[in-house]
Structure formats: C-alpha cells, structure tokens
Symmetry: C2
Subunit: 302 residues, 2 copies
C-alpha cells in the first residue's frame, strides 16, 4: 500500500535536498544570535497562487525562488544582512512532488543571498502559498522615514520588466527573454543596499508596489514631497518609462541621499545602473499629489 508522504517525511525530504542550505531546523523555533550591537530586522511576505502568481507562468522552482527573494528584498530595503529565512508552505493534496521543486527554488534564493533556511511550517491547503519570514541584522537599519527635503532620489536597476511580463502573461502574448527574466528571477539588492548605506543613503524602500506608489510611501513616512522626473526612470527593452514606474514586484531599491552617489562606480560594481531620478521637497502633500497619481500595485484591486 502506498500512502501520501506525511508532513514530517516531506520536511525531512526538503532538508535533505537543502543540505548545508538548511541549518538548525528541528526545534519548535529557530535560534539565532545577532552580531554584537546589531539590531534584528524581520519581515514577512506571502505569495499565493492565483493572486501573486499562476503556475502557467512560471516553473515551481521559479515560484519558490521569487517567494523567498521578495522577503529578502525587504531586508535589503533596510540595509540588513540576512541571517536566515523561515518558510510557511501551504500545499494542495498530492503536491509532494511540487514541493521538492519549490524547495529547489528556495535553495536557489537563499544561496544567492548567502543565507540559510532556519525553520518553517508545512500544511495542507486548497491552493499553493509560500509565506516567507526573512530575519536579518543591521548595525543601523535604513528606514522609509529617514529622508529629508533636498535629498536626492536614486533607483537601482532598469524597471518595467515584471509589469510587462504580467501584462503579456495575461494577454497570452510573447515577451523578450529579458522581460521574462526580470519577472522570474529578480534579485534582492542586499549587497547593493549595504554599499549604498555606507555611502550616505539615509532612507530606502524596495520597489514592490511600483515605483510611483513606493515613492509615495517613502515620502509619506519621511513627511516630505516628491519632485521626480519620471522620464528619467531607467527601463529595460525600451519600455515606456511612465508605465515602468507602475510596474510592481521589481525588487529594485529607491533610495534617498543627502550627497550625490557614485553612479558609475555602482554600475561597474553591481552590473546594474544606479540612476538619479529626482529629489525630495519641503511640502509633503502639495508636491506628492501634484507629481504622483496614487496608482500602483494593490492586491485588492488587481
């Protein structure tokens, strides 16, 4: 008689698959120590089938990779170094083979961020979902609220890919390899964020809801206004800059700095552009409502 593998066997199989990428799993909770003097930074991010992704769009390995990378991107926004991730995976019945592919994607993501899986939770559910808790530490975490009027605004990378990919998937259109890659294989800008923080950046947010929306979040938290030239927003594949600024799930960084940042040095070091797109102003509401229409990515309006 063959039986469906149980919860504990599936967890054991994932651990085997992860090898040294999993650490200290097996207790009721994960234990970790922050480097002396550093603060703990924790974020949680959920990816639900039918809401954040469709199986027809991505491989399960890519789905696992993206879920973990999205959570790690929140640590990047705080200029934190990851110390480990915990995964809460909900799996439809008979999904044990799917789980191993997801686990491989999780492994890709933690390896890319030089971190490990330290715990989690596996349960049955009607639809697949992956909820990742990312735990990191930072001596002086960046926040959204650290910006001041006059600060310069920079964005990493070239935007528009994820938005264009989702549009194309929905319409059943083809897309360039570069656009698909930006959706399927985003990078959590962890090393980039720490480098930028060391060069004067005082506030940051990761671009998950769309640059326009996230710029508003940063401005609101810092009680400042925005003066952004949206035509300067760098895009991939010649995409329209205006549309690119509405593209969510980019996992690039929007940062504010009181001093000019070394754009060429950044590009040479990390292989992606760092682009100045504007500055912050005194008047919060007037400027932000004038320059930015409050549109963007909202899970309840998608």
């Amino acid at each position: 008689m063959t039986t469906t593998p149980g919860e504990f066997e599936l967890i054991a199989r994932m651990r085997e698959r992860w090898g040294p990428l999993a650490e200290g799993i097996g207790d009721d909770a994960a234990v970790l120590t922050a480097p002396r003097g550093e603060q703990i930074v924790v974020s949680v991010d959920a990816c639900h089938e039918g809401v954040h992704f469709e199986r027809a769009w991505l491989s399960l390995r890519e789905i696992g990779y993206r879920a973990v990378t999205a959570a790690l991107s929140d640590l990047a926004a705080m200029a934190a170094s990851p110390r480990g991730v915990l995964l809460a995976i909900a799996l439809p019945p008979a999904g044990s083979r799917d789980l191993m592919e997801i686990a491989d994607g999780v492994g890709d993501a933690v390896r890319a961020a030089q971190t490990v899986v330290i715990g989690g939770n596996l349960s049955a559910a009607a639809t697949l979902s992956i909820t990742t808790t990312a735990v990191g530490s930072a001596f002086s975490p960046l926040t959204r609220s650290g910006a001041r009027p006059g600060n310069l605004l920079y964005v990493t990378g070239a935007l528009g890919g994820p938005g264009a990919a989702v549009d194309a998937f929905k319409r059943g259109d083809t897309m360039s390899a570069a656009v698909r890659e930006r959706f399927a294989k985003p990078t959590a800008r962890i090393a980039e964020a720490r480098w930028l923080a060391a060069r004067g950046v005082v506030a940051a947010i990761d671009v998950s809801d769309g640059l326009r929306q996230d710029a508003l979040h940063l401005a609101a938290a810092s009680h400042v206004g925005l003066a952004i030239d949206w035509t300067l927003v760098p895009t991939i594949d010649g995409l329209d800059a205006d549309r690119a600024s509405l593209s969510g799930e980019e996992y690039e960084l929007l940062v504010a700095s009181p001093v000019p940042l070394p754009e060429a040095e950044f590009a040479a070091r990390f292989g992606v552009p760092l682009t100045r797109i504007g500055r912050l102003t005194e008047r919060p509401n007037a400027d932000s409502s004038r320059v930015v229409a409050p549109r963007g990515h909202d899970h309840f309006s998608r």
Copy 2:
C-alpha cells in the same frame, strides 16, 4: 461610488484598532533589539480555513486569537519571551469586515502574552489564512534535544479538550463549555515555561501534534527512549486519558527535568496542574516504538 477598501487602508484600520498593541509598523521590515546576551528565537505557524479551522466552529475573533497563540506557544516551548509578532493574513474578496474581527482576536492574543504586533503582510486569496511569525528572545533557549536518560517527564494542564472539540464539531454534537474553551481559547504557556526553565527543566516541546506524537519528537531529538504511563495523563471533563494523549493543538508543554519539579507550587501559581507522567530511558527505538504507536496530528492525513 463605494469601492472595496484597499490593502493600505485595511492595514491602517487594523493599526487603529490595535492602538498601543501595534508598534513600529510602517517600514519594509520590523526592527527589534534583543536584551544584551540573549538569543533571538523565531517561529512561524500557519492557520488555514478548511484545514486548521472552520468558520462554523469558531468566531473570527477566536480564529485570530488561536492563530497567534499557536505561534506564541512555540516561543513558550523554547522558554523565550515574546518580543513581537508579524502577521501574514490572506483574505478572500470582500473580507474587510472579517479582517477587523480577526484583528481583535490578534489583539487579544498579543495582550495575553504581553507582546505587540510589529509587522505583517496582507494579501488577497481564495481562502482565509493567518500565518504568524513570533519573535522572542531567551538567555538560554530550551530545545527538544536537551533531555537525557533518567530525566522525569511532566506535562502542564489537562489534555483532551481540543481533540474532543474537533470530534464534536465534525459530528455536529454538543460539547461542554470547558471543552469548547480549551479549543477556542488556548493559552501559550510563556510564563510557565520560563518558571520551569528556572527550576531545572532541560528540554521542552509544546503539545501541538498530540502528546504521543510530541513525546516522540522530543525523544527522537534527544536520542532517548520514553517510559510514559499514559493513564497518568491529566484530562479535562473526565475524558479518556488514552484519547487525550492524541489530542493536538493543546499548546500545553511537555518538559524533561533531571530533578523533581514542584507540582503543587506550579498549580497554585498558574492555576493549571503540572503532572509527572513518566521518564526518559536509554534505548531510543526499542522503548519508543513499544510504548508509543506513531499516531497523532498530521496535516496531510487529517
């Protein structure tokens, strides 16, 4: 024109409802500092509608309370003090009113554990789920693996309630108020665990899969055997001890101690019994397979 409240408005409403029970929400990640010398303890626990609960069984407020308490119970098992919880809530369309009731239950749970909500994630999904990340700290976390042969085994509380409640719900039977309460309003044994750790306990696990199953987990992690007299397992409402030892989601503690524990003092202090049910032996597999049938709560066999 009325529109469905968006993600950000719903989060704002929850924060308003929580008041001082929410702290520092608004950045990409939560920031916290552990007391000097303490380790960080992190656990994640998921509650899915149709798997972990049915709306017909409990109020949404009770569902929110239980979800958070389950995660906090993992911190109790490590003798950690909670520093905050992060909530990933997935909500079916038009569930914004449900969300506020869930938020009230979350508030009840963090208040009971003297902690706060420090972050989270809200997304749409086909079914309701609440995934809680509990972050705590401990100078010397208890683990499952700290037990040695000869240690005495104790369990807190009186078991059987949640199992009997689920059985009654499934059959459409009535149940006593005490049985329902044990299911709907469990307690994370946080203060109890720290008190026990200070009195010599060397290993612990919370009873989430059923005492039999969880005793096996502890024994396996510590490489010891079990000698438990299952007739000694304390039950509520005259429930059968054997059945009570299969009841999951109890959130009581099973602890191992090299020294006898002050049972009467514990009962007087915390209002629940502490009961010695057996001891740990040298031979791992022989004993555990003889004494314990590997049954219990498994999400994939429920």
